[in-house]
């Protein structure tokens, strides 16, 4: 058994090395090929670009681990921004209160997603697809499809910290990644999540109630979508009805590159973060190489598909591993 433990650890190291290696290689190539990639300005730029995708990717990682999916994050993100905007501008509420209302809206949407999919045993794909339309529709309704300028008192939260040049959003995202990774790997709740994704029936038969865990995960995902919505709104000082379109796909792409299984039962928040970084670096580098937009999309698309191919390899490997163990015993 100790050797097994050791194998698992070295396996993880190799996994991380793969992602970190790809990241370093890209940084190296872009720094060599372009003039401005390896500059303080660009590095802070990348740091300020990733928080929204990062927080949503954290929530999405949890949802994918329990074998679900959340397609509504982009729309919820826009709804949260708009609720905040309407509360602050039309409702004359202080900005922090408005932001709190926004956060609660996000958690509420997530709760509804989880509860409906659990109560009626509907695949989360369908429920969250419905929520996507509902959230987007409500948001367009309350905004009258127009962007709403909130102003300096919300921009204040999105301003770069003097001297560092990095926005508070980055630190919020980093903190969330660390906390979520701890929850996933060091707590009972995290164990339950992995177990549910692996074999929900077995978890239930062991006398553990899976419903609260799953609903909690969806609520958390709604919370992360809300955080992203607030970050975007603080950045521009404007509640924009069109933000977050395609955010769900960006997040899923990052999570999948990070090796989290779409079938559930396996995943890592830290690796999802590396996935976000890889996409951001790839994107920034390609822009600086003046790559036409169409080519950028081909390259990013290839990276995602490649990641899923790798995902398949790992799964194959784990099955083989299982047989090897059985044969061995």
């Amino acid at each position: 058994m100790p050797t097994g433990e050791k194998n698992r650890i070295s396996g993880w190291v190799i996994d991380y090395l793969g992602l970190i290696g790809v990241l370093l290689l890209m940084v190296l190539v872009f720094s060599w090929k372009t003039e401005y990639f390896w500059t303080m300005g660009n590095l802070t730029n990348i740091a300020n670009k990733i928080p929204e995708n990062t927080v949503v990717a954290v929530g999405m990682t949890f949802v994918l681990i329990i074998g679900g999916i959340d397609l509504s994050v982009g729309a919820v993100c826009a709804l949260v921004g708009m609720v905040t905007g309407v509360a602050a501008v039309n409702g004359n509420l202080p900005v922090p209160v408005a932001m709190l209302l926004g956060l609660m809206t996000g958690v509420f949407c997530g709760l509804i997603n989880g509860m409906i999919s659990e109560r009626w045993r509907i695949p989360s794909f369908i429920v969250t697809l419905g929520m996507l339309e509902i959230a987007r529709g409500s948001e367009l309704l309350i905004s009258n499809s127009e962007s709403l300028h909130i102003g300096a008192n919300i921009e204040y939260w999105g301003e770069a910290i003097p001297g560092i040049g990095i926005t508070p959003a980055f630190f919020v995202a980093a903190l969330l990644v660390i906390l979520a990774q701890i929850v996933l790997t060091k707590t009972v709740y995290g164990r339950y999540m992995l177990a549910i994704g692996d074999n929900e029936e077995a978890v239930r038969l062991s006398g553990i109630r899976s419903t609260p865990v799953k609903v909690g995960v969806f609520a958390f995902c709604g919370f992360t979508a809300a955080l992203a919505g607030l970050m975007k709104t603080c950045q521009t000082g404007t509640a924009d009805p069109n933000i977050g379109e395609g955010l769900e796909l960006d997040a899923i792409a990052a999570v999948v590159i990070g090796g989290t299984s779409l079938m559930g039962g396996r995943g890592s928040v830290l690796k999802s973060f590396l996935g976000v970084l890889i996409i951001a670096v790839l994107d920034s580098g390609l822009v600086q190489m003046l790559t036409p937009d169409a080519v950028k999309r081909i390259v990013t698309g290839s990276a995602i598909v490649l990641a899923v191919i790798l995902d398949g390899y790992r799964q194959q490997f784990s099955v083989k591993n299982l047989f090897a163990k059985q044969l061995g015993s």
Binding site: H149, G151, T236, T238, G246, V287, M289, R297, L310, A324
Partner: protein, 337 residues
């Protein structure tokens, strides 16, 4: 056995390494010349567009590229676009990327008239000249943020008024007319509607319907058919773009009212040319789409060179009728002779 399994684990990551190297390599090849030119000291101008999958914006961008290749000794051009019209976040990121690259000027067609102002202000503060084209930034928010960003572009209202007056001249007072609007939140849709309305009021026409057909041909076809059913005495459609004019034309043709119901459009797109030559669409407006970005770039160059305090600049909108094509052909013939 165990070694085998390890090999399986390592190999995929190696593939990923190789493939990304390959992709990065591919992306790099064609662009090296541009990279080298970075050190020549010519002004570098970034064009930040909306979706380049939209013909209107790709025409604008290729017009700019053509202009740059004719004036390659004067400036460098970096063209960027976003995936879809509404991808505001992405466009903000593009402006930030351009700031990192320390371009001298950014010519931007903002995806939203308010959300982009914050990042444009930061660009200006870092010493970059910012010129607004296509979609005018919101005046109130600009004032609140304490920035001035010059708008270089056509006066859609005046253009629509011109087209509207041409049509009104063919009608009598109290004739029933209808207006097909673009997407109601878009600034240019509002401007065109206002221009048409001025023409309609001045000529004392009777505006019996004013509806949005979302800039689309198919939608305009249905809306126009509905309006004609309800208002059999209708004499004309004022359409806020040519696609909708073509849609209205199809509806008029189906209703067998060709010649009884007049149509005007806006934009002078190629697809509408035949209908204009046939007289089925009476008139349209040409805002010189391929030159819209070029006007912005030329103005940016002027500001960089002369350090002039930037102010709004109006670009021409021309009335296009059947006669303008025959005139043009006559001119070309003369030139040949």
């Amino acid at each position: 056995m165990r070694i085998d399994l390890y090999a399986l684990r390592v190999r995929p990551s190696l593939w990923l390494l190789c493939l990304s190297l390959f992709l990065v390599g591919c992306g790099g090849e064609g662009e090296q010349s541009a990279d080298h030119a970075g050190q020549t000291g010519k002004p570098r101008i970034a064009l930040v567009m909306k979706s380049l999958a939209n013909e209107f914006f790709s025409t604008m961008a290729s017009g700019a590229e053509a202009h740059q290749s004719q004036h390659s000794d004067q400036y460098e051009l970096l063209v960027n676009g976003i995936k879809n019209e509404k991808d505001v976040t992405r466009q903000i990121q593009l402006v930030e990327e351009m700031m990192v690259q320390q371009v001298d000027a950014i010519v931007i067609a903002p995806a939203d008239s308010k959300s982009l102002i914050n990042v444009c202000r930061r660009a200006i503060e870092s010493g970059i000249v910012v010129i607004n084209i296509d979609n005018k930034l919101d005046a109130e928010v600009l004032q609140e943020q304490g920035v001035q960003i010059p708008f270089v572009g056509p006066d859609n209202k005046a253009g629509a008024r011109k087209v509207g007056e041409y049509l009104a001249a063919q009608l009598k007072a109290e004739d029933e007319v209808a207006l097909l609007e673009g997407i109601s939140t878009a600034y240019n849709a509002q401007q065109r509607k206002a221009g048409f309305e001025e023409a309609i009021n001045t000529a004392s026409l009777n505006l019996v319907a004013s509806q949005s057909a979302d800039w689309e041909m198919d939608r305009a076809n249905k809306v126009a058919a509905d309006i004609m059913t309800r208002q059999p005495e209708l004499k004309a459609f004022f359409c806020s773009n040519d696609s909708m004019a073509l849609g209205a034309l199809a509806a008029v043709r189906t209703a067998g009212k060709l010649g009884q119901v007049q149509i005007v459009g806006f934009d002078n797109i190629k697809a509408a040319r035949e209908a204009i030559l046939a007289g089925d669409i009476l008139a349209t407006a040409d805002q010189h789409g391929d030159q819209l970005a070029v006007y912005g770039i030329e103005y940016a160059l002027q500001v960089i060179k002369e350090g002039a305090k930037p102010s709004d600049k109006e670009t021409p909108v021309d009335l296009i009728t059947k006669a303008s094509f025959t005139e043009k052909q006559a001119n070309e013939k003369q030139a040949v002779e």
